[in-house]
C-alpha cells in the first residue's frame, strides 16, 4: 500500500490516490517519509510508528544544494554503516517549538534502538532566524549517567557551532559534521572538544562548488550591504546611457549659414550638381 493511503487526510485525496495510484507511488518515491509534527504539538499523544526515512537527508524546502545533499547523504550513510552513528538531517517547513526533544527521542527509540542517533533539524518558517532554526537533537539519550551528559553536551556544542555559521546551508552542514565528530569522540572514549576548538571538516569533504571562496566571502557581505545603493546607481547609469543613445540618435545638425556666391545668374542653385548613368553595360559580342 502506498504511504499516501497510510495517512489519508481527506476522503477526496484518498479517492484520488485510489484512482491515480501512480501519483501516490511517485510521491512516495520522490519524497521520503518525514515525521509529522502533529504529535509534537501535543506531547501527551503517543508518537505514531513511522518508517525510517529512506535517506539521511530529508530536505523538503530545498535549502541545501543537490551537491550538498549528495555529499552529506554519502557521509552520513557511511557513518551509519561503519561507525554505527545515525544522523538525520531534516529540513522542514514548520517544526514544533515545544516538545521537540521528546518527540525526536521517541522517534530515535523507534528507529535505532542501539545506535547513537542525532537529528539535525531545521525549520524554515521564520526566515529572519534561519540559523537559530537549526537544532541538533540527540536521540536514544539515557535517563542518567555519563553518556547522557556527553550526548547532551555534544548536541549543544554542535548547535552552537552551527549557529556560528554564515547561512543556513552552512549551518546545517557544519552541525552535521560537528555532531558526527563529537559522537565519534564519544565512541572512541576521547574527551569532547568545545565547539570553538573543533577542527573544521576537510575542504575535500565539503562540497567544493557551493562552498564560498575567501574572495566570495569578502564580497558577499559587501554586496549585501551595498545592494540598496548599487541598484539605484546601476539604474541611473542605465538611464543616462539610454538618454545619451537617444540623444545621439535624435541629434539635429544645424549648419552655419555661409555667404552665398551666386553663379550663372541663378537665384537658388549655382549648378552644384552631379549626374550618373545607371544604364546596364551590355556585353560585347565575342570576336568572330
Amino acid at each position: 500500500m502506498p504511504p499516501f493511503f497510510a495517512t489519508p487526510k481527506h476522503p477526496l485525496l484518498a479517492t484520488l490516490a485510489f484512482l491515480f495510484p501512480w501519483v501516490a507511488l511517485a510521491s512516495s518515491e520522490t519524497a521520503p517519509a518525514t515525521p509529522p509534527f502533529i504529535a509534537a504539538h501535543s506531547p501527551e499523544i503517543a508518537t505514531p510508528f513511522l518508517p525510517q526515512p529512506s535517506s539521511h537527508v530529508v530536505d523538503r524546502r530545498n535549502v541545501l544544494s543537490i551537491r550538498q545533499r549528495s555529499d552529506l547523504g554519502t557521509l552520513l550513510h557511511s557513518a551509519a554503516t561503519k561507525d554505527d552513528i545515525s544522523i538525520y538531517i531534516l529540513v522542514l517547513r514548520d517544526a514544533p517549538t515545544e516538545g521537540v526533544e521528546t518527540y525526536f527521542t521517541a522517534l530515535a527509540e523507534q528507529w535505532d534502538t542501539q545506535r547513537l542517533t542525532a537529528f539535525v533539524v531545521c525549520h524554515t518558517d521564520e526566515p529572519r532566524e534561519l540559523k537559530s532554526g537549526v537544532h541538533i537533537i540527540p536521540g536514544n539519550v539515557p535517563t542518567e549517567g555519563k553518556l547522557r551528559n556527553n550526548l547532551l553536551t555534544a548536541a549543544n556544542n554542535a548547535t552552537l557551532f552551527a549557529h556560528n555559521q554564515r547561512n543556513i546551508p552552512d549551518a546545517i552542514e557544519a552541525g552535521a559534521f560537528e555532531i558526527l565528530e563529537q559522537y565519534k569522540n564519544i565512541l572512541s572514549g576521547k574527551p569532547l572538544t568545545p565547539p570553538a576548538l573543533t577542527p573544521l571538516p576537510s575542504p575535500a569533504s565539503h562540497s567544493s562548488k557551493n562552498a564560498p571562496t575567501p574572495k566570495q566571502q569578502d564580497l558577499l557581505p559587501l554586496l549585501k550591504e551595498f545592494a540598496p545603493a548599487i541598484i539605484p546607481v546601476l539604474l541611473v547609469a542605465a538611464l543616462s546611457a539610454a538618454v545619451v543613445a537617444f540623444r545621439t540618435h535624435r541629434r539635429r545638425y544645424i549648419f552655419p549659414v555661409p555667404e552665398f556666391r551666386y553663379r550663372l545668374c541663378a537665384p537658388f542653385s549655382g549648378g552644384n550638381s552631379a549626374r550618373i548613368d545607371y544604364r546596364l553595360k551590355h556585353r560585347q559580342p565575342p570576336p568572330s
Binding site: 535624435r250 541629434r251 539635429r252 545638425y253 544645424i254 549648419f255 552655419p256 549659414v257 555661409p258 555667404e259 552665398f260 556666391r261 551666386y262 553663379r263 550663372l264 545668374c265 541663378a266 537665384p267 537658388f268 542653385s269 549655382g270 549648378g271 552644384n272 550638381s273 552631379a274 549626374r275 550618373i276 548613368d277 545607371y278 544604364r279 546596364l280
Partner: protein
C-alpha cells in the same frame, strides 16, 4: 551674419551643361556660356512646384512612397535647415537630367519667403528613366558642404539599386549616404565657423588702429535681379 565662403574650403564645381570647371562667382560658363537664361530658353515650360515627390507617371506604389517619405522625413529631422525633393520622370530626347534639375531648382517658384529660404538648403534628386540617368542638385546653402565630386560619389552608391529598377531603395540609400556625409562634415564645418566667429569677436574688441584689415574676396557678386 553669414560666414565667408572661404572659411569652409569648398571643393570644385562644374558647369551643369558642359561639365567645365566653374569659377566660383562666374556669371556664365567660360566654355559653353551656359547661364540660367540659356537654360530657360532650353526648357520653355511652366515649372512644377518643388514637392517632396514629383512622380507624374505614378511609378511608385504607395508602399514605396511611404518608404521614401519616411527616409526624407528622417533626413529633414536630422538636418532641420534642409528640404528633400525627388523627381522621377521620363525626360524628352536630348534633355539632360543635370540641366533639368538645375532648371527645375531655379525656376520652380517658392510658395512663401520661408520656402524660398529653405530652397537654398534643398537637395533635389532627378531620376530620368528614359535616359537612365540620375542627377542631384543642391542649393547655395549646401554648396560649401557637398561639392560635385562628393555628390557624384553619393549618387554612385545607389547606382546598383537604380540599375535593378529598385528606385525607392536607391533613393533611401542616397539619402542615408548624404546624411552620413553631412554628419561627417559637420564637426569640421562647425569648428571652422566657430574659429572664424571667435576671430571676429576678438578683432571687434581690439582698438581700431590695431585691427588688421579684412580682405574681402573681390569675386563676390550680388544677387542678380
Amino acid at each position: 551674419m553669414p560666414i565667408p565662403y572661404a572659411v569652409f574650403r569648398p571643393g570644385k564645381m562644374l558647369c551643369p551643361s558642359c561639365g567645365a570647371m566653374l569659377v566660383r562667382v562666374a556669371d556664365e560658363c567660360h566654355r559653353c556660356h551656359f547661364t540660367a537664361k540659356v537654360c530657360l530658353e532650353k526648357y520653355p515650360f511652366q515649372a512644377q512646384d518643388l514637392q517632396r515627390l514629383i512622380d507624374p507617371e505614378e511609378r511608385f506604389e504607395s508602399r514605396d512612397r511611404k518608404r521614401i517619405n519616411r527616409a526624407a522625413n528622417q533626413f529633414e529631422r536630422r538636418f532641420p535647415q534642409t528640404a528633400v525633393s525627388i523627381c522621377i520622370t521620363r525626360l524628352p530626347k536630348g534633355a539632360d537630367a543635370r540641366e533639368f534639375g538645375y532648371w527645375l531648382f531655379n525656376v520652380s517658384p517658392p510658395k512663401s519667403p520661408e520656402a524660398a529660404q529653405r530652397r537654398y538648403f534643398t537637395l533635389l534628386l532627378v531620376i530620368d528613366r528614359a535616359h537612365r540617368t540620375a542627377a542631384a542638385t543642391i542649393g547655395y546653402g549646401l554648396d560649401t558642404f557637398i561639392d560635385d565630386g562628393a555628390l557624384k560619389k553619393l549618387l554612385s552608391s545607389s547606382r546598383e539599386h537604380f540599375q535593378q529598377g529598385h528606385y525607392a531603395e536607391g533613393i533611401t540609400h542616397f539619402l542615408k549616404a548624404t546624411g552620413k556625409h553631412l554628419r561627417d562634415q559637420y564637426k569640421e564645418i562647425s569648428q571652422n565657423a566657430a574659429h572664424w566667429q571667435e576671430a571676429q569677436l576678438k578683432s571687434q574688441s581690439t582698438p581700431q588702429h590695431e585691427q588688421t584689415t579684412v580682405t574681402h574676396d573681390p569675386h563676390i557678386v550680388t544677387k542678380p535681379a
